[in-house]
Amino acid sequence: MLISWTRKGLLAAAGAFLVASGSLAPLVAQTPPGVLIVGQIAEPKSLDPAAVTAVNDFRILVNVYEGLTRYKSGTLEVEPALATGWTISEDGTEYTFTLRDGVTFHDGTPFNAAAVKFNFDRMLDESHPYHDTGPFPLSFFFSAVQSTDLVDEMTVKFTLNAPYAPFLSNLAYPTGLIVSPAAVAANGMEFGRNPVGTGPFQFGEWRANEAVVIERNDGYWGDAAATQAVVFRPITDSNTRVAEMLAGGIDLMVEVPPTSLGQFSGDDFSIAEQAGPHVWFLILNAKEGPFADKRVRQAANYAINKEAIVNDVLEGTATVAAGPTPPAFAWAYNESLDPYPYDPEKARSLISEAGVEGAELTFYVTEGGSGMLDPVPMGTAIQADLEAVGFDVKIETYEWNTFLGEVNPGLEGKADMAEMAWMTNDPDTLPYLALRSAAWPEDGGFNSGYYANEAVDKLLEAARTATDQDERARLYREMQAIVQDDAPWVFVANWKQNAVTNDRVENFGLEPSFLLNLQGVAKN
């Protein structure tokens, strides 16, 4: 009796499920045309350019806001955006910008010199009435700015405390995006959830942990956006993101895991790839231990099979790095440098020349982290290569924040080598912060391996203060050649960012800046 009752129950449940699944079918219908749905890797922290540091959030911001300059499509060179032009004083400390006429913020207030001054004073002047609407974690991008002054209604002048060549490209970085002063005044701390800029899209709504919606700005000064709206969905788990893409729940997916790329090989999807300003390297402790000897540092560069790492571990989502500057900085990149070839024989002979055969090495590996790609398998591959040439490599693995807390204060007394990766917006940033002798950890820099070379110091200082781009490029190329030979790092990989779109999306391309410009992207 009980059994027959259960059977009936089962039948009823199965029937109900079938009916329910039938009625549910329309709910998972296709996404609407004209609305692009983007699968992001995380919920944005804020939509206030002042408050954010993550590429994930920048991808939304650059469609809502604009800066005085921007990166020319397909490059990392700057071109006018909200400024139509600029002049630089002879000594490189005064930048005067002419602003674009007739631009209004999404709230209807005009864009002018006073708005620009408001933005930079808010970030840099601790006594500014809206400085407390921060914090401004990346304000040091503009720490060279001494004052921002109005010349007239549509002209603004920045005075720097010293010549600082990366200033123009920092203005194109998301930290330099211009927000509406009226909206900051109206919303205060909540501005980050009610963003107002001048960009091709305006803010629609933010449903916490579900979606950020931005809509076409019909009053945009440039070409109107090709979609009616863009929806950014945070999907932290990459497998789930892949499943959403396959099921048609999202139209565009960024940061596809290398192992999932194969699932998008059909005609229904297209894969975009773009090398960016990223470099993945090993910091070598040049102060003590085996790596204090340049020959051993070079030996490590020869011993590690970088081709195998980018092709097998990273499934071709990166290229082999030749030096400290990524090739994405095309104008400053030294084309004549070839990566250290994989040559274990040469590595062994350099090691025996230096007399450190069988040396024990402590290797810091992180479990994850921004730009770190696949750090544990990469670390074990590196360990195997170094052991093959006779080192005894001991790996210590840390969670990302803990890892930074160990590595940034310097490797002295703790480790011989550590994984690291950087994404920057100017060829100045990384070498200036991580290769100068004045950037050792105790001086507040990131030179955690204590590399020091006077010639490199001089070149970097000179490149930072030269305002002529060709001159800067020459200095950076020379620096790259010296650094490659000195081998303070093992230069491993330059990441290629990827994205997948479905066949309803048109005109999509990735930018070397790793930002996501969606103005011209259409969806059918």
Binding site: L2, A25, T53, T236, E399, L404, G405
Partner: protein, 315 residues
């Protein structure tokens, strides 16, 4: 009974206070600080110090704890720096989502678990018992996140019956059918393990009761078998099943962390994981206090229910 509940509620206060102290201590003991988490590669000692000052993290830990405690008692849980919004808004929103998911799961696992246990026990060694025991073993053995991923592949990617992830459709959703269609897979995946555990324990509790004299008496009196099972035996077995439900409720709540990540459910579990990785102390505190309070309250409810069922248990 009223004074018993009140006593239990009062005794929950030191438990919750203790939890806040432990969380505060753990969060300050683990290496890495919020400023480093925010700044990432740009975390120079100088930048870190400035940002810590801006975030109010330069004060000693004891002082910070009491500031937090004082504020919390007035209903101010502080502001999450990683999400740039008041902690209480975020936690309540997220907690609501978790309650919907975990609550549904809990109802499912309690219902199916007890039912399966009863059927198994009533038909010991019969085909139903064997089928249930086998299914239950699978349910217990397969990790819930794996089960979730497989369900996504089958029902969302291949069959396209159900949406992959999220709580509501991005467009045209927001109503109850939409919520249910998003809830089915995560709730089932989350319920699987707990259902198995409850089924096994219900089965053994029922078997024990069925061997007792009063069951034989009931049968001898000619009470129909389904009333013997559902009325006499189950009622007696519930006394030992209900505490298991209380424990399983805790497992369902903690298991929600994985399921929320797989299904992108905007719940408190996923929030806590993110908050810990970003060293967002105030958000972790707010979330943990909320979850702990819920767990404590639920256990009180279980104890009360148990004492109602079994008068021998002293209140």
């Amino acid at each position: 009974m009223g004074s018993y509940i009140l006593k239990r509620l009062i005794s929950a206060i030191p438990v919750l206070l203790g939890i806040t102290i432990i969380v505060f201590l753990i969060m300050s003991l683990i290496p890495g600080d919020p400023a480093t988490a925010i700044l990432g590669s740009y975390a120079t000692p100088e930048n870190v110090e400035k940002l810590n000052r801006d975030l109010g993290l330069d004060k000693p830990i004891v002082q910070r704890y009491f500031i937090w405690l004082g504020n919390m008692l007035t209903g101010d849980f502080g502001r999450s720096f990683s999400l740039n919004r008041p902690v209480i808004d975020e936690v309540l929103e997220r907690f609501n989502a978790t309650l919907i998911l975990a609550g549904t799961s809990f109802v499912l696992c309690a219902m199916f678990g007890i039912l399966a246990g009863v059927v198994s026990a009533a038909r010991q060694y019969g085909w139903a018992d064997k089928a249930i025991t086998f299914t239950v073993l699978i349910g217990i053995s397969v990790p819930s996140f794996f089960l979730g991923m497989m369900m996504i592949l089958l029902f969302a990617v291949n069959l396209r019956w159900l949406p992959v992830s999220g709580m509501y459709a991005i467009y045209g959703g927001g109503d109850l059918p939409d919520l249910i269609s998003h809830l089915i897979m995560p709730a089932l995946a989350l319920a699987a393990v707990a259902t198995g555990v409850i089924a096994r324990l219900s089965r053994s509790a029922m078997l024990e009761v069925l061997r007792q004299d009063f069951i034989r008496t009931a049968r001898a009196k000619g009470v129909p078998e389904h009333r013997v099972i559902m009325g006499h035996a189950l009622r007696a077995a519930l006394v030992s099943i209900i505490p298991v439900l209380g424990i399983q409720a805790g497992f369902v709540l903690s298991g929600a962390v994985y399921i929320e990540i797989v299904f992108q459910w905007p719940g408190v579990g996923r929030m806590l994981v993110d908050a810990i990785l970003k060293r967002d102390l105030l958000l972790v505190q707010g979330g943990v206090v909320c979850v702990a309070a819920c767990y404590v309250l639920f256990n009180i409810a279980v104890d009360v229910a148990q004492s109602l069922l079994d008068p021998r248990i002293k209140t």
